[in-house]
């Protein structure tokens, strides 16, 4: 193994890792927004919204994320959507992971015992008040871990945007392979950096999970 090479190129990889982190953070935020809206739609008493939420979930979970990304980035201009690669990456991955998060958030909300809603409604609270003060605080505790699983998948999923040449970790590895012919070292380095990002995120999720449980 060419340790010298690794030491030489790793600052470039670090820069790429920063981009992967940025991509992950923005994607996670967009995913959470889409997931919350999706869950709200899925749980809405309006038939049309309910259907819209269900369609969103099955569409985006039922097709490869890579196809969605290509459709947005390469197919977008054809219908007047001009995005640079980074923007397309964030939007494509964010909306995709949002479909998974929709199910996570909805699952947490409906697994709060229905007696809780009944007790709140019986006291005279509106359905919104019951949701806001009784159900969501309990659902939030239940969703931290499964959302962590979604975020883990999302971080690994950012590798896909290499395919539309965003200069993140995976793309950087490929580029250096082109000039060094050392795929083993380059992919090992990229993999190690992914692992660090995922490990730290995982610790953060565990910490948050413990915190919301104790209070």
């Amino acid at each position: 193994m060419d340790i010298d090479l690794i030491l030489r190129v790793y600052p470039h990889f670090l820069k790429a890792a920063i981009l992967t982190i940025e991509l992950s953070v923005l994607t996670a935020i967009l995913g959470l927004v889409c997931g919350s809206l999706g869950a709200a739609a899925r749980l809405s008493r309006f038939q049309a919204l309910h259907f819209l939420g269900a369609a969103y979930v099955s569409l985006f979970r039922g097709t490869p994320a890579l196809i969605q990304l290509f459709l947005l980035y390469f197919g977008g201009p054809q219908i007047g959507i001009q995005l640079d690669a980074f923007e397309a990456g964030v939007i494509g991955l964010g909306v995709n992971i949002g479909a998974y998060m929709t199910e996570t958030i909805r699952g947490a909300i409906i697994s709060v015992h229905k007696g809780q809603t009944e007790a709140a409604r019986t006291l005279g609270m509106s359905s919104w008040q019951a949701m806001r003060y009784v159900i969501l605080p309990q659902a939030f505790r239940l969703m931290v871990r499964p959302l962590g699983v979604n975020i883990n998948a999302l971080i690994k999923g950012t590798a896909l945007v290499a395919a539309i040449s965003v200069v993140e970790l995976t793309y950087t590895a490929q580029r250096y392979i082109g000039s060094t012919y050392k795929p083993f070292e380059m992919f090992l380095l990229a993999g190690a950096l992914y692992m660090v990002i995922i490990y730290i995120t995982g610790r953060g999720i565990s910490w948050l999970d413990r915190k919301v449980r104790i209070q």
Binding site: H113, G115, Q116, E118, A119, A120, R121, T122, L123, G124, M125, S126, S127, Q129, Y133, V134, P137, Q138, R141
Partner: protein
């Protein structure tokens, strides 16, 4: 017009779950300060009837009136929601499994609804919580979480939470059925105290002794109908219907 208006008036209540008719044309009137027990075998429709009173399980047909106002009025959704939230503030309900809010302290369990719905200040809410907990004998648990309480204590907090809304009517759905036998009495004591304070109550129960000692009237339900009703002495000592006799005999055997 001096036509008498019952406090709680259930008229021709019918409830169907698909093909299954769970309540079959039940009418029931309860006067102010009356305490009515509903007994009957499992699946006879006791809970369904009780939960129709605050429209938690809406009737298929029939009417429910409380103090001259129709509870299950037909209204457009938003108007109905406003109406029913108003009505429900006046009807306390106690569940078999307590349904305390586990993420809130005992104090917050009690003050959440009054704060949201009556717009009282934090200070007023605290006074209210203290009063209600004093009432059920749990003032020393005010800052505990529900998970730190025994079943009997949880149920007393649930009663205090309902009472904090100053209801005109209290509904109990087997309030002691989920409790260990040694914890039943403390909850019964609280309910007796409410009886002495002249609260109007409708109590679904499996405890015949309690029903006999506290209630003014007993309804025996079976298969979605009220088979027999009357004073506790009559229902428990001299029931006229065969089904009532059978139920009470089986129940006595079960208790022994």
């Amino acid at each position: 017009m001096t036509h008498h208006r019952p406090f709680v008036d259930i008229r021709h209540a019918q409830k169907c779950y698909g093909e299954l008719e769970v309540l079959k044309d039940i009418s029931l009137q309860v006067e102010q300060k009356q305490i009515v027990a509903i007994i009957g075998p499992s699946g006879s429709g006791k809970s369904t009837l009780l939960r129709a009173i605050n429209d938690l399980d809406p009737l298929t047909s029939g009417e429910v009136w409380l103090d001259g106002v129709q509870v299950n009025k037909l209204l457009p959704h938003t108007q109905y929601e406003k109406h029913i939230n108003q009505i429900r503030q006046q009807i306390g309900m106690v569940f078999q499994h307590f349904n305390l809010f586990p993420h809130l302290t005992v104090r917050e369990n009690i003050t959440l609804a009054p704060k949201l719905l009556k717009g009282i200040s934090d200070d007023e809410a605290n006074v209210l919580a203290e009063q209600q907990l004093e009432h059920v004998g749990l003032i020393d648990r005010i800052d505990y979480h529900p998970s730190q309480l025994s079943g009997g204590q949880k149920q007393r907090v649930a009663i205090a939470r309902a009472l904090a809304m100053k209801p005109k009517l209290m509904l109990f759905d087997e309030a002691t059925s989920a409790l260990d036998p040694e914890l039943v009495e403390e909850v019964n004591q609280v309910m007796k105290m409410l009886a002495e304070e002249a609260m109007t109550m409708i109590i679904v129960t499996h405890e015949m002794g309690f029903a006999e000692s506290v209630c003014d009237r007993v309804l025996f339900m079976d298969g979605g109908v009220v088979v027999e009703e009357g004073a506790p002495e009559v229902i428990f000592r001299n029931p006229t219907q065969e089904r009532t006799k059978n139920f009470l005999r089986k129940h006595l055997e079960g208790v022994k």
